[in-house]
């Protein structure tokens, strides 16, 4: 059967594999697909950026179909602009829903950020102040997206380079209240925590210890670049262009100490290495997960 919602004509089908995400996964890069299909590596799941698969057909969909036949997939949106002051794009929601129907992802996630304003798309995850007003707006948008898709989504904590004078909420408390109001789950990006804590001279450990980690269902890990700000202070950039920093691995263990093992993803989106190098990072993640308690034990406590 070929369905035609909007311009996506890829047929939907039943995938045998309906497993939830487990273990360590990797962000899927087109240049790795043939290696992955040939070697069938022991990877827990692959995550894709939804917007890369919103064309009608062609090679991107063929590759994702082949991956999805063998692995659980999570769908990570980078363009919904959940943090917008204006309404979400109904067209974009419809395109997103179609992907959910076709690929039956184990998880769906988006960001606490905005990228669209007055019909311009800025192609970046832009920051927002944490106020009662933005909380209400973001909760409304997350609820709308969940209602539209008919499933829970996870919202990811951002990496930021600036803060806003009008903010009245701590980021962690903002995320907890967002989850409470909308019923969303959380995606915890440990690299983002490290970047923001370094950039704003706060404690990453205190952030982690105060975070509503019981709502976290997936973890992200990535590499970052280092720059300097106006005063020559360290300014970390969320570049996703290198291996995970040693300090981020330490913070990851701290998170796992609170949560137990959780599906965890290596994101490497720029200066993409060969598949064996990325696979090493995934294996390293798996070693950390192996030392963490199973999540059920943590829940029992």
């Amino acid at each position: 059967m070929t369905q035609t919602v909007l311009d996506i004509t890829v047929p939907s089908r039943d995938f045998a594999n309906h497993h939830a995400l487990t273990g360590a996964g990797a962000g899927l890069k087109a240049e790795h697909v043939s290696d992955i299909l040939r070697e069938k590596p022991d990877v827990g799941f692959f995550e894709v950026h939804a917007e890369n698969y919103m064309g009608a057909g062609g090679l991107p969909h063929a590759q994702l179909h082949a991956i999805r036949e063998q692995y659980p997939v999570s769908l990570h949106g980078v363009g919904m602009s959940i943090g917008s002051s204006g309404p979400l794009s109904e067209d974009h929601l419809a395109r997103f829903k179609r992907l959910v129907e076709i690929y039956q992802p184990a998880m769906v996630s988006e960001h606490l950020a905005w990228s669209t304003h007055t019909d311009v798309f800025y192609n970046d995850l832009l920051p927002l102040p944490y106020t009662d007003e933005t909380l209400a707006r973001v909760a409304e948008h997350v609820s709308h997206m969940q209602d539209f898709l008919g499933r829970q989504i996870l919202i990811e904590n951002p990496s930021t380079y600036v803060t806003f004078s009008e903010s009245t909420w701590e980021e962690g408390a903002f995320m907890a209240e967002l989850a409470k109001r909308s019923g969303c789950g959380l995606l915890f990006d440990v690299n983002n925590v490290y970047i923001s804590a370094t950039n704003h001279k706060t404690s990453a450990e205190a952030y982690i210890d105060a975070y509503p980690l019981h709502l976290v269902k997936e973890i992200h890990l990535a590499g970052h670049a280092e720059d300097a700000d106006d005063d020559g202070d360290r300014l970390l950039i969320d570049a996703h262009d290198r291996p995970v920093h040693a300090d981020v691995w330490t913070l990851y263990d701290r998170v796992l100490g609170h949560t137990g093992a959780l599906p965890s993803l290596i994101e490497w989106d720029n200066d993409v290495p060969t598949w064996p190098i990325l696979a090493q990072e995934v294996q390293r993640t798996q070693l950390h997960l192996g030392r963490a308690a199973p999540r059920e034990l943590r829940h029992a406590g």
Binding site: G55, G79, H117, T118, P129, E133, Y161, V162, D230, L235
Partner: protein, 259 residues
């Protein structure tokens, strides 16, 4: 869409977004290091936006990039991004007005072929992301009598397009694979057929007759009309070879809608 006039978050995002694309506007007040003015920090967002969009254009137009070189392309791309930022998160469509933008640049008046090369690149992208239409196969037309075949009209796949130019667009498009070639004259009028075979996008050079033939068929004329149009353009037009290319290129959809 703007929020209510009293909506402080909407006003905030308006100020933030204006400063993103226009360096002449300073970083917004009350946003920065500990919420204090910090232009270098705001510039990270400015840089992310502009550079990511410039990179998107480099990926979309590798032939223009090869022809102009990275420095010149980057300068043009930066100007394009400021004037024509994307209006949709569907980034695979970004750059659809890039050919027009190039055609209006005085600096490129000495390189009048650039807009048409960019048009071929856009058609390549459309084909790459196009729906997986089932192509017309020899069996689909072998069941027809010659008379029936000649009266047949054919529907192009959503990947198919023909671009004709006063310039050497086929040679110039191939700069993405092999440049420089040593070629200096690009004023040979060339036409190309863009189509998709399986998941591979093909760009084939068309002679005058074949260009007229494919243009007529895509325009909805019958096979007989298309052959007539082509023969009027080109005495040496070979209808058999053209029908062969029509099938081999997968440019047309199957006659019976199997879906």
């Amino acid at each position: 869409m703007l929020g209510e006039p009293n909506d402080s978050w909407a006003a905030r995002t308006t100020a933030f977004s204006k400063a993103l694309l226009d360096p002449a506007i300073g970083a917004p007040v009350g946003i920065g290091k500990h919420a204090q003015h910090a232009p270098k920090r705001f510039a990270v967002y400015r840089n992310n936006v502009t550079v990511s969009l410039m990179e998107a254009l480099k990926s979309a137009f590798p032939s223009i990039l090869a022809l102009l070189g990275d420095e010149t392309f980057s300068r043009l791309a930066r100007a394009f991004v400021a004037r024509h930022p994307p209006t949709s998160p569907m980034m695979q469509r970004y750059g659809d007005v890039f050919p027009t933008f190039l055609s209006e640049l005085p600096a490129l008046s000495e390189l009048p072929f650039m807009p048409d090369v960019a048009r071929v690149e856009l058609c390549w992208l459309v084909a790459y992301h196009a729906a997986d239409d089932a192509p017309l196969m020899p069996d689909d037309i072998s069941v027809l009598s010659p008379e029936e075949l000649m009266e047949q009209r054919f529907i192009p796949t959503s990947a198919t397009s023909v671009i004709a130019s006063d310039h050497s667009i086929y040679d110039l498009f191939n700069a993405r694979f092999d440049w420089p070639t040593g070629q200096t004259d690009f004023n040979d009028a060339q036409a190309v057929l863009v189509s998709r075979q399986g998941f591979s996008v093909r760009v084939a050079r068309l002679g005058i007759g074949h260009c007229a033939f494919f243009t007529s068929l895509i325009g909805g004329e019958t096979l007989a009309q298309a052959i007539g149009t082509a023969m009027a353009e080109d005495d040496s037009f070979d209808a058999g070879a053209a029908i062969g290319q029509m099938l081999e290129s997968h440019a047309f959809r199957t006659l019976t809608d199997k879906t």
